[in-house]
């Protein structure tokens, strides 16, 4: 499943970059966060409360920054497990300055869900995954306004 979107900010791409390359700040936007542990500047561990259909419970996420190209590109990898399921999301973010000032952030998230969640709540997964990922970027964009 691939999802994508883009946002425009009044801030410049380098300002945006410095914000979203900081795992601690980015992590604050993970929806339904229960706990967070920053392991290094490239790795964070998080526990979230997740639910889909009637399957509900804790989900453990490992958040890694996989690519840093200052001012232009960022890559994250999210690996999650819990609820008898596994999730892998690879996210790439591209930043571009606008001629009118401000910048654009475009993101693409490639998501793979396996396990109980995928098999039991198949019909709901893509909308749910999209919702969560969008929430995450919505939150980021709020903070960058």
């Amino acid at each position: 499943m691939k999802f994508e979107g883009s946002y425009q900010f009044p801030k410049s791409s380098s300002e945006v970059y410095s914000y979203i390359s900081d795992l601690r700040r980015v992590s604050e936007c993970i929806p339904d966060l229960k706990s967070l542990e920053i392991k290094s500047e490239d790795e964070a561990l998080a526990t979230v409360r997740a639910g889909i259909g009637f399957i509900r419970g804790d989900f453990n996420l490992r958040f890694n920054v996989t690519q840093r190209s200052p001012h232009t590109n960022l890559g994250y990898a999210v690996h999650g497990s819990g609820l008898g399921s596994g999730v892998d999301i690879s996210i790439t973010v591209q930043l571009e300055d606008l001629s009118t000032g401000g910048s654009t952030l475009s993101w693409v998230a490639d998501t793979k869900v396996v396990g109980r969640v995928a098999s039991m709540a198949q019909g709901m997964i893509s909308s749910q995954a999209e919702k969560i990922i969008k929430q995450f970027f919505e939150c980021l964009s709020q903070r960058l306004r």
Partner: protein
């Protein structure tokens, strides 16, 4: 003369003896067993269909409240129990040490004081997986470069099997006027017994005896295999199969749960219970069918059928575990010439490993007969439509005629007896075939879609003769041990295991018939390896043909001895003693008699000098041949052009299973089988996406028929006894599951044929039909 008591022998529709406990909740299924100090086993299961295990961390789980043991594949390795042999000579993983090969595979066993505590602790086990590429399509699995499921095999190719005469078949195809061919997929389905699999294992460390109560259809086989693997002497292992809530083939297998429970009992010194949740059972126990075939049929223009060939790929999941007789890696698929007198046939099948649980269950089916019947019955129907000959007429023209029995098929099977036209004609008459065709004609003119489908199947059951049939080398005989006690009461034990088929009643009826003892006085026991005679269990409709025959022969042995005792009591010569149900009398003087009960008493109190005391017999019955039940089913459907729903208006089933022991039970077996066939045809499928996620993991997503959708079945019979079975019986447990799917599909395709539809793969979901109607410009909007 005194009244002859009612004994409820052969043919009596007596109500079942076993029901007394079931209707009062006094049954004992595995989950009803509770032993002092018992703990519960639950599993961590893999979310991935294919992944390497980087690490397993069990520390948090071990420290959780109530947890008494955590067992991983590494713990099983030193015991040689991380892999165990399957029934097909392959092996299967119990718990993985290197990688997982299907989604929901058992990875770690957690044992705790309660089932809730075990389920809690399961969540605390951390497994780090490295996902690997997945293959779920067996055809892709056989391609070069596909991910390899089994590293120990280095290929996904399980076997290549062929039967018949390729050249003769190809030649007939070249000469034929008409050839029809069809690609068909017989989807993967789950047997869906209502009672999920489970066991209670208890290892008595003082006596060194493991006892396992388990949901198994074949307890003796389990015991032998367990003994061979563990080196625990066979006499010390006790496998008990208590009441079983449906098996249908799915409980022939031994699943990791039982092995881990047994090990956990040794480790903890306590009884261990494992019972699958439904959502764990569906995705991790064995499946049936999953068979991709290309079938072709050749005929002359006048409708004479000539030859049949099939090329197929079968999906076996990650382990080749089919419970097949060892000489038949693809079961009895070569019965695929069915009820027709063909000149040649050829089939070839390649088996593939995929990232799914093991497949190949003979789901209420005698080893792939279901797929065979589906193939030939679909193709005969397609041929009839292509030639413009009525499907009934084409069948009647090509049936093996009654005078040709015993009939040797081109595949080498010797059919014992049959009257195929008799069954089809009876079904046609009962349903009003001619009238229905006229109605169809008129409806077509009005644009209404109505279809009539026939299936005239031939089964092959009762495995089987020892010269050809064995499982892991053990011959497929049937066994019975009958003891008559001094007061004329009987305890009879069998090596089979009823899962609802009513053995406690039918076996008693056979003994009643042979010995004239009322069924109330006969107790039938099965399923305990400590007491029952060795036997291969119940599946593939083999109980009546094998153990039922053993009961008859053992009874006859007893009668022989009883006759000698009667002669002694009557002071007559043995030749002058005549048997009449329940008593012996002196020829010419029927008033001078001894009842079987009097004889039984004498066997312990006043037996002839020189004779052994007692009245009992054991018999291991080796059937001289298989039996070949058959039947004709006719289905009428109406298709809603709006929703695409195909509604079964009527379904007539005429079955011939030879002589009938209990008509009530036979009827019940047929109703049940038809409902399963109906589910297969219209709603059941286990699917996988390309990542190996299973669809159909529980009763929310895997729909089986409820009372609302299920048609009201109309059944009838013809009786063509088996000439070689001691009772003339053939076995019936599976005829309807085997025979009916083709009738449903034939009916739906018959309705849609004028639109140019030649085939639809099952399940015939309304959306599939609706989509076809749209394509053909025939859909109505509501």
């Amino acid at each position: 003369m005194t009244e002859v008591p009612v004994i409820h022998g052969m043919g009596s529709a007596v109500k079942r003896k076993e029901d007394v406990r079931f209707i009062q909740g006094r049954d004992t299924y595995v989950d009803d067993i509770s032993l002092p100090g018992m703990v519960y086993l639950d599993f961590v299961r893999s979310p991935y269909a294919h992944a390497r295990i980087r690490s397993i961390s069990t520390e948090r789980a071990k420290g959780a409240p109530g947890v008494v043991a955590v067992i991983t594949g590494k713990d099983l390795q030193p015991l040689g129990l991380d892999w165990i042999p399957t029934l097909s000579g392959d092996k299967m993983m119990v718990l993985p040490t290197e990688k997982v090969v299907f989604q929901m595979q058992e990875v770690v066993g957690v044992v705790a004081e309660s089932r809730y505590a075990a389920a809690d602790a399961v969540k605390l086990v951390e497994v780090d997986y490295e996902p690997l590429p997945v293959v779920t399509d067996p055809k892709k699995a056989l391609e070069e470069g596909s991910p390899i499921v089994r590293e120990d095999k280095r290929t996904n190719h399980v076997f290549h099997w062929e039967a018949g005469d390729r050249e003769a078949t190809d030649r007939l195809f070249e000469q034929a006027d008409v050839v029809v061919g069809q690609d068909m997929y017989y989807q993967r389905i789950h047997v869906s017994y209502m009672e999920p699999c489970g066991c209670v294992a208890y290892y008595d460390s003082v006596k060194g005896t493991p006892t396992i109560w388990m949901t198994t259809q074949a307890p003796h086989v389990v015991r032998t295999v367990a003994s061979l693997i563990t080196k625990i002497p066979e006499n010390k292992i006790r496998i008990i199969s208590p009441d079983i809530g449906g098996g249908f083939g799915g409980k022939v297998y031994v699943y990791p749960g039982s092995i881990v429970a047994a090990v956990a009992s040794i480790v903890t010194g306590r009884p261990v219970k494992w019972v699958n949740d439904r959502s764990d059972d569906h995705p991790s126990t064995a499946f049936a069918r999953d068979f991709h075939m290309r079938a072709e049929l050749a005929a002359k223009r006048d409708g004479t059928l000539l030859a049949f060939r099939v090329k197929a790929v079968s999906d076996h999941g990650a382990f080749f575990g089919d419970a097949n007789p060892s000489k038949f890696p693809f079961g009895l698929f070569s019965i695929c010439t069915g009820s027709y007198d063909l000149k040649a046939a050829f089939v070839e099948v390649d088996g593939a490993y995929t990232n799914k649980p093991q497949g190949g269950i003979a789901y209420r089916c005698s080893f792939r007969v279901t797929e065979a019947v589906y193939a030939i019955e679909r193709l005969v129907d397609i041929m009839a439509h292509r030639l413009g000959i009525d499907p009934a007429e084409l069948r009647l023209k090509n049936f093996i005629p009654p005078e040709k029995f015993p009939y040797r098929s081109v595949m080498g099977w010797v059919y014992d007896s049959g009257n195929y036209a008799g069954a089809l004609r009876k079904a046609m008459e009962k349903i009003g075939y001619e009238e229905l065709r006229r109605e169809q004609e008129e409806k077509r003119k009005r644009g209404e879609l109505m279809g009539i489908g026939i299936s005239s199947f031939t089964e092959i059951v009762g495995a089987g003769p020892s010269h050809t049939f064995d499982i892991l080398g053990i011959k497929m005989f049937g066994s019975a041990e009958i003891r008559i006690h001094p007061t004329g009461k009987v305890i009879a034990r069998f090596g089979t295991r009823s899962q609802g088929q009513g053995h406690e009643t039918t076996y008693a009826q056979i003994i009643a018939e042979e010995l004239g003892i009322p069924i109330e006085d006969i107790t039938v026991e099965e399923g305990d390896t400590d007491t029952a005679p060795y036997g291969l269990g119940t599946y593939a409709s083999r109980s009546t043909p094998t153990a039922g025959a053993a009961a008859a022969v053992a009874s006859r042995k007893i009668r022989e001895k009883a006759k000698k005792i009667a002669a002694h009591l009557l002071e007559a010569r043995e030749e002058d003693v005549v048997w009449e149900r329940g008593r012996f009398y002196v020829k010419g003087a029927p008033a001078k008699y001894k009842t079987i009960q009097e004889v039984a008493f004498a066997a312990y109190t006043n037996h002839p000098p020189g004779m052994e005391a007692g009245l009992e017999a054991v018999h291991y019955y080796d059937p001289p041949n298989m039996t070949f039940p058959f039947g004709s089913y006719i289905c009428v459907v109406d298709i809603d052009r709006g929703t695409g729903e195909a509604k079964v208006r009527r379904f007539v089933a005429v079955d011939d299973c030879g002589n009938i022991i209990n008509p009530l039970i036979v009827d019940g077996q047929i109703h049940g089988g038809l409902t399963m066939g109906f589910g297969t045809a219209f709603m059941e499928e286990i699917g996988y996406d390309q990542d190996g996620n299973i669809y159909g993991a529980n009763f929310m997503d895997y729909t089986i028929p409820t009372a609302v959708e299920t048609p009201k079945w109309e059944t009838d019979k013809t009786v063509t006894p088996s000439p070689h079975h001691p009772l003339g019986a053939k076995g019936v447990g599976e005829s309807a599951t085997v025979g009916s799917p083709a009738a449903f599909v034939n009916a739906v395709v018959d309705a849609l044929w004028p639109l140019g539809v030649t085939h639809i793969d099952m399940p015939l979901y309304p959306w599939k039909i609706r989509r076809l109607l749209e394509e053909k410009g025939y859909a109505l909007d509501k």
